[in-house]
Symmetry: C2
Subunit: 342 residues, 2 copies
DNA sequence: ATGAAAGCGCTAACAG
DNA sequence: CTGTTAGCGCTTTCAT
């Protein structure tokens, strides 16, 4: 089994009996008009016959572009991200770009090393799902002139384009749904306000509660240490220990809602019999939980697509404006909410 | 905002007042011994000060390696794959490799175009989760001398290293569990035998049924069109329409089991009251289903890690043997199985 | 121990 | 319309 070495442009040129640069022009759609139709045909035929695949390393080195973009996210096993990746790819592949994924596990060191690796690879742009509200890493990237798009979360330092769900609207949908069912004592199991989604959802909860005429009781607000199941469970336990009465809870995301499910099961609290729960994101299998989770659907795939489009714009035209695209979520009513019994 | 252009080796060399080739030697751990300690220090300091990041395009072009490996899979949103990706990355990143993911959606055209893209990118190797039992695409890749590792599924044409779960053992665990509970009429909701996992699980079911002294009734065997929920539901419906009696089913994977759940719910059949169901894979959230799914856990993350290690070996030493690593699964008993009532 | 020179495969002026 | 030339940033003989 001979590891046959790849065909190069020179091979094609030789076969077509033209100069390599002519072959290059013939092969590239942009420059093809510059060359004689007959020659084009000959070159194309030769390339086809030899099975020529351009070496994108050489091409990238010359053009100073890699046609690769990085996607930096906390953890791919969070079910939020795979559909987003698909969205990115579906948009980017059309433009001949490839996506390279890197996980940070919310670890600052890992984030730095991951970003370094991206820079070394000379990615043409970066999609970041890891933004904190104040994020020096992002500032650094911007200063280095790296095209950037934030997804899901944003930074407050401004100037960076982003594609997110509309958290204010989404939390409003969740809360109004509960109010319409008749709930008045509604708890909020939040998430760290150090990231934009945590803050926005918290603020939205407070603001919508006010406008719906619901009492905003600090005793009804807890915060999970992170957007995950166990922290959600801990936060919900803390809430229960406060011994305040409530008939419903809005969770800052589905995994936190799952944590609430766990504690409810563990303590024999019926969902939605005794307490209604609304999640956020509509992650895969949210409909398979017991009870099926009422939640706010975030168009994650679409976020990926739009982010890709925005990034491509930014790469092609670095002066373009820093759009902050907010995609509208949708309430999905399932089995975890019902009118309060009392 | 000036897009400052990256620091090159020449910049570092100039700052350290050495020749670029000396700087190169100093920077590379392999060749560092060749250069004077003092000079090394000066170069390293200069590189650090300037924030030098080697251009891996140039490096790759010279060395004829990209330090990238491709991972070709059907669909990243299948919950089986994200942990596998993490396993790959955790192993590969240590060796300074990056993973590029591509989805085929089980579409032959798409598969061809992704593989082309991978070749164009000159990936150093490929991990494939898309193998069919006879797979011309894989043959082509082998002939081209591309280092290859198959995961999850294998091909029958041999000679390609692979890392999979031990399906024979796993199905045995599932079946024995049901037999030990007292089930005798056990159905099998399978998957296409055109892929190795579909075939292996089918054969394992038949073989274990025999050795356990269970009747192998063709009427109790159906096959889903694919490893997914809806096909699983359709297959289970077909089984029910046959009007044969059974008290338990082994599903070829969790998503198919989920499809069985759906039909059971739709037709008012109690799980596990009237029929016990065992899944396969132990996908994320299998424990959150209602009822929590008894299933066979496949060490997916570990498969990723081992595949990465194997691929690195193959890249470094293309003559190495085509190991077929089979990782042992584990039965996870949850709420979807119980002794038969009758 | 370091410098000089060549070249990986490609593209883009610049000529003709 | 096509050929010539040079160079992207790096590594690696080959000299010294």
């Amino acid at each position: 089994m001979v590891t046959q070495q790849p065909i190069t442009l020179r091979d094609v040129a030789r076969a077509a009996e033209v100069h390599p640069s002519t072959a290059s022009r013939a092969l590239n759609v942009e420059t093809r008009p510059l060359v004689n139709d007959g020659t084009v045909a000959r070159v194309l035929a030769a390339a086809e016959a030899l099975g020529y695949e351009p070496n994108s390393l050489a091409r990238g080195l010359k053009l100073n572009r890699t046609f690769q973009v990085g996607f930096v996210l906390p953890d791919l096993t969070n079910p939020l991200f795979p559909p987003m990746v698909r969205g990115l790819e579906d948009s980017l592949n059309g433009a001949k770009y490839t996506v390279v994924i890197a996980n940070t596990d919310n670890d600052a060191d890992k984030e730095r090393s991951v970003l370094d690796a991206m820079l070394r690879r000379r990615v043409d742009g970066l999609v970041l799902a890891t933004a904190r509200r104040h994020d020096p890493a992002i500032d650094g990237l911007r200063e280095a002139g790296m095209p950037l798009v934030l997804v899901n979360r944003t930074t407050e330092d401004g100037g960076v384009p982003s594609v997110t769900g509309d958290d204010h609207a989404g939390i409003g949908m969740a809360l109004r749904h509960l109010v319409e069912l008749g709930h008045r004592r509604i708890a909020y199991v939040g998430a760290p306000t150090s990231v934009s989604t945590g803050l926005a959802r918290y603020q939205a909860f407070v603001s919508w509660a006010r406008s719906e005429g619901i009492e905003v009781d600090a005793d009804l607000m807890v915060s999970a240490d992170w957007f995950q199941e166990d922290p959600g469970a801990n936060a919900f336990r803390e809430l229960l220990e406060r011994d305040v009465s409530f008939t419903a809870v809005v969770a800052a995301n589905d995994l936190i809602a799952l944590g609430c499910y766990d504690v409810a099961t563990e303590q024999g609290i019926s969902v939605p019999g005794e307490v209604s729960i609304v999640g956020y994101n509509d992650m895969p299998f949210a409909d398979k939980l017991s009870p099926p989770l009422t939640t706010v659907h975030v168009p994650v795939y679409e976020i990926g697509r739009r982010a890709a489009d925005l990034l491509l714009e930014t790469i092609d035209q670095p002066t373009s404006m820093a759009d902050a695209i907010r995609l509208r979520p949708e309430l999905i009513v399932r089995g975890s909410t019902q009118p309060p019994v009392s």
